[in-house]
Protein backbone atom coordinates (compact mmCIF):
# COMPACT_ATOMS: atom_id res chain seq x y z
CA UNK A 1 0.00 0.00 0.00
CA UNK A 2 1.65 3.24 -1.06
CA UNK A 3 -0.55 6.31 -0.96
CA UNK A 4 -4.29 6.29 -0.63
CA UNK A 5 -5.50 9.53 -2.07
CA UNK A 6 -5.66 10.07 -5.79
CA UNK A 7 -2.11 10.75 -6.88
CA UNK A 8 -1.23 14.43 -7.31
CA UNK A 9 -2.59 15.87 -10.51
CA UNK A 10 0.49 16.67 -12.47
CA UNK A 11 3.85 15.67 -11.27
CA UNK A 12 6.58 16.69 -13.66
CA UNK A 13 8.92 13.84 -12.70
CA UNK A 14 8.16 10.53 -14.40
CA UNK A 15 7.80 7.90 -11.72
CA UNK A 16 8.52 4.22 -12.05
CA UNK A 17 5.44 2.13 -12.85
CA UNK A 18 3.17 1.59 -9.86
CA UNK A 19 3.22 -1.79 -8.13
CA UNK A 20 -0.58 -1.68 -8.25
CA UNK A 21 -0.45 -2.93 -11.83
CA UNK A 22 0.52 -6.32 -10.44
CA UNK A 23 -2.71 -6.33 -8.43
CA UNK A 24 -5.06 -4.66 -10.88
CA UNK A 25 -4.09 -6.35 -14.12
CA UNK A 26 -4.87 -9.92 -12.96
CA UNK A 27 -8.14 -8.78 -11.35
CA UNK A 28 -9.17 -6.96 -14.52
CA UNK A 29 -8.40 -10.08 -16.56
CA UNK A 30 -10.45 -12.30 -14.24
CA UNK A 31 -13.38 -9.87 -14.47
CA UNK A 32 -13.08 -9.79 -18.26
CA UNK A 33 -12.96 -13.57 -18.76
CA UNK A 34 -16.71 -14.33 -18.69
CA UNK A 35 -17.56 -11.76 -21.39
CA UNK A 36 -14.50 -12.73 -23.44
CA UNK A 37 -15.58 -16.37 -23.28
CA UNK A 38 -19.10 -15.33 -24.26
CA UNK A 39 -17.92 -13.55 -27.40
CA UNK A 40 -15.40 -16.22 -28.34
CA UNK A 41 -17.78 -19.14 -27.82
CA UNK A 42 -20.45 -17.45 -29.92
CA UNK A 43 -18.10 -17.61 -32.94
CA UNK A 44 -16.56 -21.02 -32.21
CA UNK A 45 -17.29 -23.98 -34.53
CA UNK A 46 -19.24 -26.80 -32.88
CA UNK A 47 -16.39 -29.30 -33.25
CA UNK A 48 -14.14 -27.14 -31.05
CA UNK A 49 -16.62 -26.86 -28.24
CA UNK A 50 -17.09 -30.49 -27.34
CA UNK A 51 -13.46 -31.36 -26.95
CA UNK A 52 -11.62 -31.34 -23.65
CA UNK A 53 -9.36 -29.72 -22.79
CA UNK A 54 -10.76 -26.97 -24.94
CA UNK A 55 -8.54 -24.27 -26.41
CA UNK A 56 -9.17 -20.78 -25.13
CA UNK A 57 -9.20 -19.40 -28.67
CA UNK A 58 -11.25 -21.13 -31.38
CA UNK A 59 -9.47 -22.80 -34.31
CA UNK A 60 -11.64 -20.86 -36.77
CA UNK A 61 -14.25 -18.14 -36.58
CA UNK A 62 -17.78 -18.92 -37.65
CA UNK A 63 -21.16 -17.28 -37.48
CA UNK A 64 -22.97 -20.63 -37.43
CA UNK A 65 -24.21 -19.99 -33.90
CA UNK A 66 -25.79 -16.70 -34.89
CA UNK A 67 -27.24 -18.17 -38.08
CA UNK A 68 -28.88 -20.97 -36.18
CA UNK A 69 -30.05 -18.57 -33.50
CA UNK A 70 -31.81 -16.30 -35.97
CA UNK A 71 -33.26 -19.17 -37.99
CA UNK A 72 -34.56 -21.41 -35.23
CA UNK A 73 -35.70 -18.95 -32.60
CA UNK A 74 -37.74 -15.78 -32.32
CA UNK A 75 -34.80 -13.86 -30.90
CA UNK A 76 -35.37 -10.82 -33.13
CA UNK A 77 -38.99 -10.67 -32.01
CA UNK A 78 -37.86 -10.84 -28.37
CA UNK A 79 -35.24 -8.19 -29.01
CA UNK A 80 -38.02 -6.03 -30.43
CA UNK A 81 -40.24 -6.76 -27.43
CA UNK A 82 -37.54 -5.81 -24.96
CA UNK A 83 -36.72 -2.68 -26.93
CA UNK A 84 -40.39 -1.67 -26.80
CA UNK A 85 -40.60 -2.33 -23.06
CA UNK A 86 -37.43 -0.37 -22.31
CA UNK A 87 -38.29 2.51 -24.66
CA UNK A 88 -41.74 2.98 -23.16
CA UNK A 89 -40.33 2.58 -19.65
CA UNK A 90 -37.69 5.25 -20.21
CA UNK A 91 -40.00 7.80 -21.84
CA UNK A 92 -42.72 7.24 -19.28
CA UNK A 93 -40.26 7.44 -16.39
CA UNK A 94 -38.81 10.68 -17.67
CA UNK A 95 -42.19 12.33 -18.17
CA UNK A 96 -44.09 11.06 -15.13
CA UNK A 97 -41.27 11.08 -12.59
CA UNK A 98 -40.06 14.53 -13.64
CA UNK A 99 -43.57 15.96 -13.40
CA UNK A 100 -44.15 14.40 -10.00
CA UNK A 101 -40.66 15.22 -8.76
CA UNK A 102 -41.17 18.84 -9.77
CA UNK A 103 -44.58 18.94 -8.15
CA UNK A 104 -43.25 17.61 -4.87
CA UNK A 105 -40.21 19.87 -4.97
CA UNK A 106 -41.73 23.16 -6.03
CA UNK A 107 -45.50 23.40 -5.93
CA UNK A 108 -47.52 24.08 -2.81
CA UNK A 109 -50.70 22.10 -2.53
CA UNK A 110 -52.70 20.33 0.09
CA UNK A 111 -51.53 16.75 0.78
CA UNK A 112 -48.09 17.27 -0.71
CA UNK A 113 -46.13 15.95 2.28
CA UNK A 114 -48.49 13.06 2.74
CA UNK A 115 -48.28 12.11 -0.94
CA UNK A 116 -44.51 12.22 -0.94
CA UNK A 117 -44.23 10.17 2.23
CA UNK A 118 -46.57 7.58 0.74
CA UNK A 119 -44.31 7.32 -2.31
CA UNK A 120 -41.14 7.02 -0.25
CA UNK A 121 -42.82 4.49 2.02
CA UNK A 122 -43.46 2.14 -0.91
CA UNK A 123 -39.70 1.84 -1.36
CA UNK A 124 -39.64 -0.33 1.74
CA UNK A 125 -42.08 -2.85 0.24
CA UNK A 126 -40.17 -5.77 -1.30
CA UNK A 127 -41.22 -6.78 -4.82
CA UNK A 128 -41.78 -10.37 -3.69
CA UNK A 129 -44.73 -9.15 -1.66
CA UNK A 130 -46.32 -7.64 -4.74
CA UNK A 131 -45.88 -10.48 -7.23
CA UNK A 132 -48.90 -12.56 -6.26
CA UNK A 133 -51.56 -9.81 -6.07
CA UNK A 134 -50.14 -8.08 -9.15
CA UNK A 135 -50.36 -11.37 -11.02
CA UNK A 136 -53.99 -11.79 -9.97
CA UNK A 137 -54.77 -8.17 -10.82
CA UNK A 138 -53.14 -8.42 -14.25
CA UNK A 139 -54.91 -11.66 -15.09
CA UNK A 140 -58.26 -10.05 -14.21
CA UNK A 141 -57.64 -7.13 -16.54
CA UNK A 142 -56.30 -9.41 -19.26
CA UNK A 143 -52.68 -8.23 -19.24
CA UNK A 144 -51.12 -11.61 -18.44
CA UNK A 145 -49.29 -13.24 -21.36
CA UNK A 146 -49.09 -9.96 -23.24
CA UNK A 147 -46.22 -7.51 -23.52
CA UNK A 148 -48.33 -5.05 -21.54
CA UNK A 149 -47.69 -7.12 -18.42
CA UNK A 150 -43.99 -6.38 -18.76
CA UNK A 151 -44.55 -2.70 -19.53
CA UNK A 152 -47.03 -1.49 -16.91
CA UNK A 153 -44.85 -2.03 -13.79
CA UNK A 154 -42.13 0.06 -15.44
CA UNK A 155 -44.20 3.17 -16.17
CA UNK A 156 -43.04 5.04 -13.07
CA UNK A 157 -41.15 4.32 -9.90
CA UNK A 158 -40.77 5.75 -6.43
CA UNK A 159 -37.03 5.83 -6.99
CA UNK A 160 -37.48 8.01 -10.07
CA UNK A 161 -39.66 10.52 -8.26
CA UNK A 162 -37.25 10.63 -5.33
CA UNK A 163 -34.31 11.20 -7.67
CA UNK A 164 -36.00 13.98 -9.64
CA UNK A 165 -37.31 15.72 -6.52
CA UNK A 166 -33.82 15.79 -5.03
CA UNK A 167 -32.59 17.41 -8.20
CA UNK A 168 -35.35 20.02 -8.55
CA UNK A 169 -35.03 21.07 -4.90
CA UNK A 170 -31.44 22.02 -5.61
CA UNK A 171 -32.32 24.30 -8.54
CA UNK A 172 -32.56 28.02 -7.73
CA UNK A 173 -36.17 29.22 -7.82
CA UNK A 174 -35.40 32.59 -9.46
CA UNK A 175 -35.36 30.97 -12.87
CA UNK A 176 -39.01 30.00 -12.72
CA UNK A 177 -40.12 33.14 -10.95
CA UNK A 178 -38.92 35.30 -13.79
CA UNK A 179 -40.69 33.15 -16.37
CA UNK A 180 -43.92 33.08 -14.33
CA UNK A 181 -43.91 36.87 -14.08
CA UNK A 182 -43.51 36.99 -17.84
CA UNK A 183 -46.80 35.15 -18.05
CA UNK A 184 -45.71 31.57 -18.72
CA UNK A 185 -47.91 28.82 -17.33
CA UNK A 186 -46.46 26.23 -14.97
CA UNK A 187 -46.36 23.60 -17.69
CA UNK A 188 -44.54 25.95 -20.04
CA UNK A 189 -42.04 26.77 -17.32
CA UNK A 190 -41.59 23.07 -16.65
CA UNK A 191 -41.00 22.03 -20.24
CA UNK A 192 -39.04 25.07 -21.46
CA UNK A 193 -36.93 25.98 -18.46
CA UNK A 194 -36.81 23.20 -15.90
CA UNK A 195 -36.50 20.05 -18.01
CA UNK A 196 -33.58 21.31 -20.11
CA UNK A 197 -31.69 22.03 -16.88
CA UNK A 198 -32.40 18.56 -15.55
CA UNK A 199 -30.31 16.67 -18.11
CA UNK A 200 -27.87 15.07 -15.63
CA UNK A 201 -30.71 13.80 -13.44
CA UNK A 202 -32.64 12.61 -16.49
CA UNK A 203 -29.56 10.70 -17.71
CA UNK A 204 -29.35 8.94 -14.36
CA UNK A 205 -33.05 8.17 -14.45
CA UNK A 206 -32.89 6.86 -18.03
CA UNK A 207 -29.94 4.55 -17.33
CA UNK A 208 -31.55 3.27 -14.16
CA UNK A 209 -34.74 2.49 -16.07
CA UNK A 210 -32.90 0.99 -19.03
CA UNK A 211 -30.86 -1.41 -16.90
CA UNK A 212 -33.78 -2.45 -14.77
CA UNK A 213 -36.32 -2.94 -17.53
CA UNK A 214 -33.90 -4.53 -20.02
CA UNK A 215 -32.58 -7.08 -17.53
CA UNK A 216 -35.77 -7.83 -15.60
CA UNK A 217 -36.39 -11.53 -15.37
CA UNK A 218 -38.56 -12.54 -12.44
CA UNK A 219 -41.65 -10.56 -13.36
CA UNK A 220 -41.76 -11.52 -17.08
CA UNK A 221 -41.14 -15.10 -15.96
CA UNK A 222 -44.28 -14.99 -13.85
CA UNK A 223 -46.47 -12.89 -16.11
CA UNK A 224 -45.62 -14.09 -19.62
CA UNK A 225 -45.92 -17.66 -20.84
CA UNK A 226 -46.64 -16.90 -24.45
CA UNK A 227 -43.39 -17.01 -26.45
CA UNK A 228 -44.62 -14.33 -28.85
CA UNK A 229 -44.61 -11.87 -25.95
CA UNK A 230 -41.32 -13.07 -24.43
CA UNK A 231 -38.74 -10.54 -23.46
CA UNK A 232 -35.15 -11.15 -24.47
CA UNK A 233 -34.10 -12.28 -21.00
CA UNK A 234 -37.00 -14.69 -20.77
CA UNK A 235 -36.24 -16.05 -24.23
CA UNK A 236 -32.58 -16.80 -23.58
CA UNK A 237 -33.40 -18.30 -20.20
CA UNK A 238 -35.79 -20.70 -21.87
CA UNK A 239 -33.06 -21.82 -24.26
CA UNK A 240 -31.32 -23.50 -21.41
CA UNK A 241 -33.64 -26.46 -21.18
CA UNK A 242 -33.92 -27.91 -24.68
CA UNK A 243 -30.72 -26.42 -26.07
CA UNK A 244 -28.37 -26.61 -23.18
CA UNK A 245 -25.58 -28.17 -25.23
CA UNK A 246 -25.70 -25.84 -28.23
CA UNK A 247 -23.20 -23.51 -26.71
CA UNK A 248 -22.43 -21.30 -29.69
CA UNK A 249 -26.14 -20.65 -30.13
CA UNK A 250 -26.61 -19.99 -26.41
CA UNK A 251 -23.69 -17.59 -26.34
CA UNK A 252 -24.89 -15.87 -29.51
CA UNK A 253 -28.19 -15.31 -27.69
CA UNK A 254 -26.27 -13.97 -24.73
CA UNK A 255 -24.39 -11.56 -26.98
CA UNK A 256 -27.64 -10.27 -28.49
CA UNK A 257 -29.06 -9.73 -25.00
CA UNK A 258 -25.97 -8.14 -23.49
CA UNK A 259 -24.11 -6.32 -26.25
CA UNK A 260 -26.49 -3.33 -26.43
CA UNK A 261 -25.92 -2.60 -22.75
CA UNK A 262 -22.16 -3.18 -22.97
CA UNK A 263 -21.88 -0.74 -25.86
CA UNK A 264 -24.04 1.75 -24.00
CA UNK A 265 -21.86 1.35 -20.95
CA UNK A 266 -18.65 1.94 -22.89
CA UNK A 267 -20.04 5.16 -24.37
CA UNK A 268 -21.65 6.54 -21.23
CA UNK A 269 -19.48 5.08 -18.51
CA UNK A 270 -19.53 8.26 -16.45
CA UNK A 271 -23.33 8.39 -16.38
CA UNK A 272 -23.56 4.68 -15.58
CA UNK A 273 -21.25 5.14 -12.62
CA UNK A 274 -23.30 8.11 -11.41
CA UNK A 275 -26.41 5.93 -11.65
CA UNK A 276 -24.75 3.05 -9.84
CA UNK A 277 -23.73 5.26 -6.98
CA UNK A 278 -27.27 6.54 -6.68
CA UNK A 279 -29.01 3.21 -6.52
CA UNK A 280 -28.61 -0.43 -5.80
CA UNK A 281 -30.17 -1.39 -9.11
CA UNK A 282 -29.69 -5.14 -9.38
CA UNK A 283 -31.92 -7.69 -7.74
Amino acid sequence: MTTLEAAPRSRPVRRRPSGWHLVLAPIAIVFAIPFVQMFLTSVTPAKDINKFPRDFFPSALTLDGYEKLFQTSDILLWLGNTTIVSAIAIVSHIVLCSLAGYGFARLTFRGRTFGFLAIVGTIMIPTQLLMIPTYILFSRIGLIDSLGAAIVPWLASAFGIFLMRQFFISLPAELEEAALIDGCTRLQVFFRIILPLAKPAIATLAIFTLLGSWNDLVWPLIAINNDQAFTLQLGITNFQGPRRTEWSLLMAGNVVATLPLIVFFLFAQKQFIATMSFSGLKG
Binding site: L24, P34, L107, S170, A173, L180, V218
Partner: protein, 335 residues
Protein backbone atom coordinates in the same frame (compact mmCIF):
# COMPACT_ATOMS: atom_id res chain seq x y z
CA UNK B 1 -41.82 -5.03 -11.02
CA UNK B 2 -39.09 -2.66 -10.10
CA UNK B 3 -36.33 -4.53 -8.38
CA UNK B 4 -34.81 -1.32 -7.38
CA UNK B 5 -34.78 1.12 -4.56
CA UNK B 6 -33.06 4.41 -4.04
CA UNK B 7 -30.38 5.04 -1.54
CA UNK B 8 -29.29 8.07 0.34
CA UNK B 9 -28.15 10.45 -2.38
CA UNK B 10 -24.45 10.50 -1.62
CA UNK B 11 -23.61 11.58 -5.13
CA UNK B 12 -25.95 14.20 -6.44
CA UNK B 13 -25.83 15.33 -10.03
CA UNK B 14 -22.81 17.57 -10.32
CA UNK B 15 -24.51 20.60 -11.72
CA UNK B 16 -26.87 20.78 -8.78
CA UNK B 17 -26.22 23.84 -6.71
CA UNK B 18 -26.63 22.91 -3.08
CA UNK B 19 -28.95 25.67 -2.13
CA UNK B 20 -32.27 24.15 -1.18
CA UNK B 21 -34.71 27.00 -1.35
CA UNK B 22 -38.07 27.14 0.31
CA UNK B 23 -40.75 26.09 -2.15
CA UNK B 24 -42.15 29.54 -2.59
CA UNK B 25 -40.78 32.59 -0.92
CA UNK B 26 -43.32 35.12 0.36
CA UNK B 27 -42.23 37.57 -2.32
CA UNK B 28 -43.02 34.98 -4.94
CA UNK B 29 -46.59 34.53 -3.77
CA UNK B 30 -47.29 38.24 -3.61
CA UNK B 31 -46.02 38.72 -7.13
CA UNK B 32 -48.26 36.03 -8.54
CA UNK B 33 -51.28 36.85 -6.42
CA UNK B 34 -52.76 39.99 -7.90
CA UNK B 35 -54.07 42.73 -5.58
CA UNK B 36 -57.48 41.15 -5.96
CA UNK B 37 -56.22 38.12 -4.03
CA UNK B 38 -56.98 40.02 -0.83
CA UNK B 39 -60.58 39.20 -1.49
CA UNK B 40 -61.37 35.92 0.38
CA UNK B 41 -63.28 34.42 -2.52
CA UNK B 42 -60.35 34.99 -4.87
CA UNK B 43 -58.00 33.59 -2.32
CA UNK B 44 -60.03 30.42 -2.07
CA UNK B 45 -60.14 30.16 -5.84
CA UNK B 46 -56.37 30.57 -5.94
CA UNK B 47 -55.88 27.85 -3.32
CA UNK B 48 -58.10 25.55 -5.33
CA UNK B 49 -56.11 26.32 -8.46
CA UNK B 50 -52.83 25.62 -6.65
CA UNK B 51 -54.15 22.30 -5.35
CA UNK B 52 -55.40 21.26 -8.77
CA UNK B 53 -52.13 22.28 -10.35
CA UNK B 54 -50.04 20.43 -7.77
CA UNK B 55 -52.06 17.25 -7.98
CA UNK B 56 -52.05 17.51 -11.74
CA UNK B 57 -48.26 17.24 -11.67
CA UNK B 58 -47.98 14.41 -9.18
CA UNK B 59 -51.17 12.39 -9.68
CA UNK B 60 -50.27 10.32 -12.78
CA UNK B 61 -47.13 8.86 -11.23
CA UNK B 62 -48.68 8.64 -7.80
CA UNK B 63 -51.67 6.63 -9.02
CA UNK B 64 -49.44 4.15 -10.87
CA UNK B 65 -47.01 3.67 -8.02
CA UNK B 66 -49.54 3.36 -5.23
CA UNK B 67 -51.76 1.22 -7.46
CA UNK B 68 -48.88 -1.19 -8.08
CA UNK B 69 -47.41 -1.24 -4.59
CA UNK B 70 -49.56 -0.05 -1.71
CA UNK B 71 -52.72 -1.59 -3.05
CA UNK B 72 -51.16 -5.02 -3.82
CA UNK B 73 -49.35 -4.96 -0.46
CA UNK B 74 -52.66 -4.67 1.37
CA UNK B 75 -54.18 -7.27 -0.92
CA UNK B 76 -51.26 -9.64 -0.22
CA UNK B 77 -52.04 -9.39 3.48
CA UNK B 78 -55.68 -10.33 2.87
CA UNK B 79 -54.52 -13.21 0.66
CA UNK B 80 -52.20 -14.42 3.38
CA UNK B 81 -55.26 -15.06 5.56
CA UNK B 82 -56.79 -17.33 2.93
CA UNK B 83 -56.26 -20.65 1.30
CA UNK B 84 -56.67 -20.09 -2.41
CA UNK B 85 -55.41 -21.63 -5.65
CA UNK B 86 -56.72 -18.85 -7.89
CA UNK B 87 -59.63 -20.90 -9.27
CA UNK B 88 -61.83 -22.38 -6.57
CA UNK B 89 -63.45 -20.30 -3.83
CA UNK B 90 -60.99 -18.88 -1.32
CA UNK B 91 -61.27 -20.23 2.22
CA UNK B 92 -60.59 -17.94 5.17
CA UNK B 93 -58.07 -19.60 7.42
CA UNK B 94 -57.07 -16.75 9.71
CA UNK B 95 -53.41 -16.90 10.65
CA UNK B 96 -53.06 -20.62 9.83
CA UNK B 97 -50.67 -19.87 6.96
CA UNK B 98 -48.35 -18.07 9.31
CA UNK B 99 -48.58 -20.88 11.83
CA UNK B 100 -47.83 -23.41 9.07
CA UNK B 101 -44.57 -21.61 8.29
CA UNK B 102 -43.21 -22.55 11.72
CA UNK B 103 -43.46 -26.27 10.97
CA UNK B 104 -42.57 -26.19 7.28
CA UNK B 105 -39.29 -28.09 6.94
CA UNK B 106 -38.69 -27.00 3.32
CA UNK B 107 -39.11 -23.37 4.26
CA UNK B 108 -36.64 -23.76 7.10
CA UNK B 109 -34.18 -25.40 4.73
CA UNK B 110 -34.66 -22.45 2.36
CA UNK B 111 -34.02 -20.10 5.25
CA UNK B 112 -30.74 -21.87 5.99
CA UNK B 113 -29.66 -21.74 2.33
CA UNK B 114 -30.48 -18.05 2.17
CA UNK B 115 -28.52 -17.48 5.36
CA UNK B 116 -25.52 -19.35 3.93
CA UNK B 117 -25.62 -17.23 0.77
CA UNK B 118 -25.97 -14.01 2.79
CA UNK B 119 -23.04 -14.99 5.02
CA UNK B 120 -20.94 -15.72 1.93
CA UNK B 121 -21.99 -12.80 -0.22
CA UNK B 122 -22.35 -9.78 2.07
CA UNK B 123 -18.90 -9.70 3.73
CA UNK B 124 -17.08 -10.61 0.52
CA UNK B 125 -18.90 -8.04 -1.57
CA UNK B 126 -18.25 -5.26 0.96
CA UNK B 127 -14.58 -6.17 1.44
CA UNK B 128 -14.03 -6.70 -2.27
CA UNK B 129 -15.63 -3.33 -2.99
CA UNK B 130 -13.43 -1.65 -0.42
CA UNK B 131 -10.31 -3.33 -1.76
CA UNK B 132 -11.11 -2.56 -5.40
CA UNK B 133 -11.97 1.05 -4.58
CA UNK B 134 -8.64 1.55 -2.81
CA UNK B 135 -6.84 -0.13 -5.69
CA UNK B 136 -8.64 1.87 -8.37
CA UNK B 137 -8.40 5.22 -6.59
CA UNK B 138 -5.15 6.35 -8.16
CA UNK B 139 -3.92 7.92 -11.32
CA UNK B 140 -1.76 5.34 -13.03
CA UNK B 141 -1.57 4.12 -16.61
CA UNK B 142 -4.39 1.88 -17.82
CA UNK B 143 -6.53 2.83 -14.81
CA UNK B 144 -9.44 3.53 -17.15
CA UNK B 145 -9.05 0.08 -18.66
CA UNK B 146 -8.97 -1.59 -15.25
CA UNK B 147 -12.06 0.30 -14.13
CA UNK B 148 -13.95 -0.58 -17.29
CA UNK B 149 -13.07 -4.27 -16.98
CA UNK B 150 -14.27 -4.40 -13.38
CA UNK B 151 -17.38 -2.26 -13.88
CA UNK B 152 -18.76 -3.58 -17.15
CA UNK B 153 -20.11 -6.88 -15.72
CA UNK B 154 -22.59 -4.71 -13.85
CA UNK B 155 -24.75 -4.59 -16.99
CA UNK B 156 -24.92 -8.38 -17.27
CA UNK B 157 -28.42 -9.68 -16.64
CA UNK B 158 -29.16 -12.65 -14.41
CA UNK B 159 -30.17 -14.58 -17.52
CA UNK B 160 -26.83 -13.95 -19.24
CA UNK B 161 -24.87 -14.52 -16.04
CA UNK B 162 -26.69 -17.80 -15.52
CA UNK B 163 -25.72 -19.13 -18.94
CA UNK B 164 -22.12 -17.97 -18.45
CA UNK B 165 -22.00 -19.65 -15.04
CA UNK B 166 -23.15 -23.03 -16.33
CA UNK B 167 -20.55 -22.72 -19.09
CA UNK B 168 -17.53 -21.59 -17.07
CA UNK B 169 -18.25 -23.95 -14.19
CA UNK B 170 -19.25 -26.99 -16.24
CA UNK B 171 -17.76 -30.06 -14.54
CA UNK B 172 -17.11 -31.69 -17.94
CA UNK B 173 -15.55 -28.94 -20.04
CA UNK B 174 -15.64 -25.68 -18.07
CA UNK B 175 -12.75 -23.26 -17.96
CA UNK B 176 -12.52 -23.51 -14.18
CA UNK B 177 -11.93 -27.26 -14.14
CA UNK B 178 -9.53 -26.88 -17.01
CA UNK B 179 -7.48 -24.45 -14.94
CA UNK B 180 -7.62 -26.72 -11.90
CA UNK B 181 -6.38 -29.57 -14.07
CA UNK B 182 -3.47 -27.39 -15.11
CA UNK B 183 -2.47 -27.11 -11.46
CA UNK B 184 -3.01 -30.82 -10.91
CA UNK B 185 -6.23 -30.42 -8.91
CA UNK B 186 -9.01 -32.93 -9.64
CA UNK B 187 -12.12 -31.55 -11.39
CA UNK B 188 -14.90 -30.27 -9.15
CA UNK B 189 -18.66 -30.70 -9.46
CA UNK B 190 -19.39 -26.96 -8.95
CA UNK B 191 -23.09 -26.35 -9.62
CA UNK B 192 -23.75 -30.08 -9.54
CA UNK B 193 -22.22 -30.48 -6.08
CA UNK B 194 -24.57 -29.53 -3.21
CA UNK B 195 -21.60 -28.32 -1.16
CA UNK B 196 -20.23 -26.06 -3.86
CA UNK B 197 -23.26 -24.75 -5.75
CA UNK B 198 -23.92 -21.82 -3.41
CA UNK B 199 -20.25 -20.83 -3.55
CA UNK B 200 -20.40 -20.74 -7.35
CA UNK B 201 -23.52 -18.57 -7.25
CA UNK B 202 -21.77 -16.25 -4.79
CA UNK B 203 -18.72 -15.94 -7.05
CA UNK B 204 -20.83 -15.02 -10.04
CA UNK B 205 -22.94 -12.58 -8.01
CA UNK B 206 -19.72 -10.89 -6.96
CA UNK B 207 -18.61 -10.72 -10.58
CA UNK B 208 -21.78 -8.87 -11.54
CA UNK B 209 -22.15 -6.70 -8.46
CA UNK B 210 -18.65 -5.82 -7.28
CA UNK B 211 -19.00 -2.60 -9.27
CA UNK B 212 -21.71 -1.33 -6.96
CA UNK B 213 -19.81 -1.50 -3.67
CA UNK B 214 -16.64 -0.37 -5.46
CA UNK B 215 -18.32 2.72 -6.90
CA UNK B 216 -19.82 3.85 -3.60
CA UNK B 217 -16.51 3.30 -1.78
CA UNK B 218 -14.67 5.16 -4.54
CA UNK B 219 -17.00 8.13 -4.16
CA UNK B 220 -16.49 8.08 -0.39
CA UNK B 221 -12.71 7.82 -0.70
CA UNK B 222 -12.63 10.85 -2.96
CA UNK B 223 -14.66 12.81 -0.42
CA UNK B 224 -12.03 12.39 2.30
CA UNK B 225 -10.26 15.72 2.74
CA UNK B 226 -6.65 15.56 1.58
CA UNK B 227 -5.35 17.60 4.53
CA UNK B 228 -6.60 14.90 6.90
CA UNK B 229 -4.35 12.35 5.24
CA UNK B 230 -1.55 14.88 5.00
CA UNK B 231 -1.79 15.60 8.74
CA UNK B 232 -1.67 11.91 9.64
CA UNK B 233 1.37 11.41 7.46
CA UNK B 234 3.19 14.40 8.96
CA UNK B 235 2.48 12.91 12.39
CA UNK B 236 4.46 9.90 11.25
CA UNK B 237 1.74 7.37 10.44
CA UNK B 238 2.68 4.75 7.86
CA UNK B 239 0.29 4.12 4.95
CA UNK B 240 -1.21 1.10 6.68
CA UNK B 241 -1.91 3.12 9.81
CA UNK B 242 -3.28 6.00 7.77
CA UNK B 243 -5.71 3.61 6.17
CA UNK B 244 -7.01 1.89 9.29
CA UNK B 245 -7.01 4.88 11.63
CA UNK B 246 -7.92 7.75 9.30
CA UNK B 247 -9.47 6.48 6.09
CA UNK B 248 -11.46 3.51 7.31
CA UNK B 249 -13.37 5.39 10.05
CA UNK B 250 -14.33 7.98 7.43
CA UNK B 251 -15.86 5.17 5.39
CA UNK B 252 -18.04 3.90 8.24
CA UNK B 253 -21.34 5.32 6.94
CA UNK B 254 -20.73 3.81 3.50
CA UNK B 255 -19.87 0.48 5.08
CA UNK B 256 -23.13 0.49 7.02
CA UNK B 257 -25.10 1.45 3.95
CA UNK B 258 -23.38 -1.14 1.75
CA UNK B 259 -23.89 -3.86 4.36
CA UNK B 260 -27.60 -3.17 4.75
CA UNK B 261 -28.06 -2.89 1.03
CA UNK B 262 -26.23 -6.11 0.24
CA UNK B 263 -28.10 -7.98 2.98
CA UNK B 264 -31.41 -6.92 1.45
CA UNK B 265 -30.18 -8.01 -1.98
CA UNK B 266 -28.87 -11.33 -0.64
CA UNK B 267 -32.07 -12.20 1.19
CA UNK B 268 -33.99 -11.68 -2.04
CA UNK B 269 -31.79 -13.93 -4.19
CA UNK B 270 -33.84 -15.56 -6.91
CA UNK B 271 -32.78 -14.77 -10.48
CA UNK B 272 -29.35 -16.33 -10.50
CA UNK B 273 -30.65 -19.47 -8.78
CA UNK B 274 -33.37 -19.76 -11.39
CA UNK B 275 -30.96 -19.34 -14.30
CA UNK B 276 -28.33 -21.76 -12.93
CA UNK B 277 -29.55 -24.53 -10.64
CA UNK B 278 -33.33 -24.02 -10.32
CA UNK B 279 -32.91 -24.70 -6.61
CA UNK B 280 -30.86 -27.88 -7.08
CA UNK B 281 -28.82 -29.97 -6.68
CA UNK B 282 -30.92 -31.77 -4.06
CA UNK B 283 -32.51 -28.44 -3.14
CA UNK B 284 -29.15 -27.06 -1.96
CA UNK B 285 -29.71 -23.65 -3.54
CA UNK B 286 -33.41 -23.26 -2.86
CA UNK B 287 -33.64 -19.80 -1.31
CA UNK B 288 -36.61 -18.20 0.43
CA UNK B 289 -37.70 -16.27 -2.65
CA UNK B 290 -37.23 -19.34 -4.83
CA UNK B 291 -39.40 -21.29 -2.39
CA UNK B 292 -41.95 -18.46 -2.40
CA UNK B 293 -42.05 -18.37 -6.19
CA UNK B 294 -42.45 -22.14 -6.33
CA UNK B 295 -45.23 -22.17 -3.72
CA UNK B 296 -47.15 -19.34 -5.39
CA UNK B 297 -46.69 -19.96 -9.09
CA UNK B 298 -45.97 -23.70 -9.35
CA UNK B 299 -48.10 -25.08 -6.50
CA UNK B 300 -50.61 -22.21 -6.83
CA UNK B 301 -50.75 -21.65 -3.08
CA UNK B 302 -51.44 -17.94 -3.28
CA UNK B 303 -52.35 -17.63 0.40
CA UNK B 304 -49.34 -19.46 1.76
CA UNK B 305 -47.03 -17.71 -0.71
CA UNK B 306 -48.30 -14.33 0.50
CA UNK B 307 -47.71 -15.32 4.11
CA UNK B 308 -44.12 -16.30 3.28
CA UNK B 309 -43.70 -12.96 1.49
CA UNK B 310 -44.87 -11.11 4.59
CA UNK B 311 -42.49 -13.19 6.70
CA UNK B 312 -39.66 -12.19 4.38
CA UNK B 313 -40.69 -8.54 4.61
CA UNK B 314 -40.64 -8.73 8.41
CA UNK B 315 -37.20 -10.37 8.48
CA UNK B 316 -35.81 -7.72 6.11
CA UNK B 317 -37.18 -4.90 8.25
CA UNK B 318 -35.83 -6.39 11.46
CA UNK B 319 -32.36 -6.89 9.98
CA UNK B 320 -32.26 -3.40 8.48
CA UNK B 321 -33.30 -1.79 11.76
CA UNK B 322 -30.95 -4.05 13.72
CA UNK B 323 -27.90 -3.23 11.61
CA UNK B 324 -28.69 0.48 11.76
CA UNK B 325 -29.04 0.52 15.54
CA UNK B 326 -25.96 -1.66 16.06
CA UNK B 327 -23.80 0.53 13.83
CA UNK B 328 -25.04 3.72 15.52
CA UNK B 329 -24.04 2.33 18.90
CA UNK B 330 -20.70 0.90 17.89
CA UNK B 331 -19.68 3.91 15.84
CA UNK B 332 -20.40 6.15 18.81
CA UNK B 333 -17.86 4.09 20.71
CA UNK B 334 -15.41 4.03 17.85
CA UNK B 335 -15.25 7.77 17.25
Amino acid sequence: MTDTKPRVPAAEPESAAHTALPESSPGFVSVIGSPAARNPRDRRRRALRDNLEGWGFVAPALVIILGLSLFPAVWAFLLSLQEWDGFSDPVNVGFDNYAAMATDGDLQAALVHTFVYTALFVPTSVLLGLFLAVALNRRIRFIGLYRTAIFVPFVASAAATGILTTYLFSPQFGLLNQMLQFFGIPPQGWLEDPNQSMVVITIMSLWGQAAFTTVIYLAALQDIPADLLEAARIDGANPWQVFWHVVFPQLAPVTVFATIWQIIQAIQLFDLVYTTTRGGPLGATETIVYYLWDAAFKQLEFGYGSAVAYGLFAVTLVITIGVTIYSRRSSMKAF
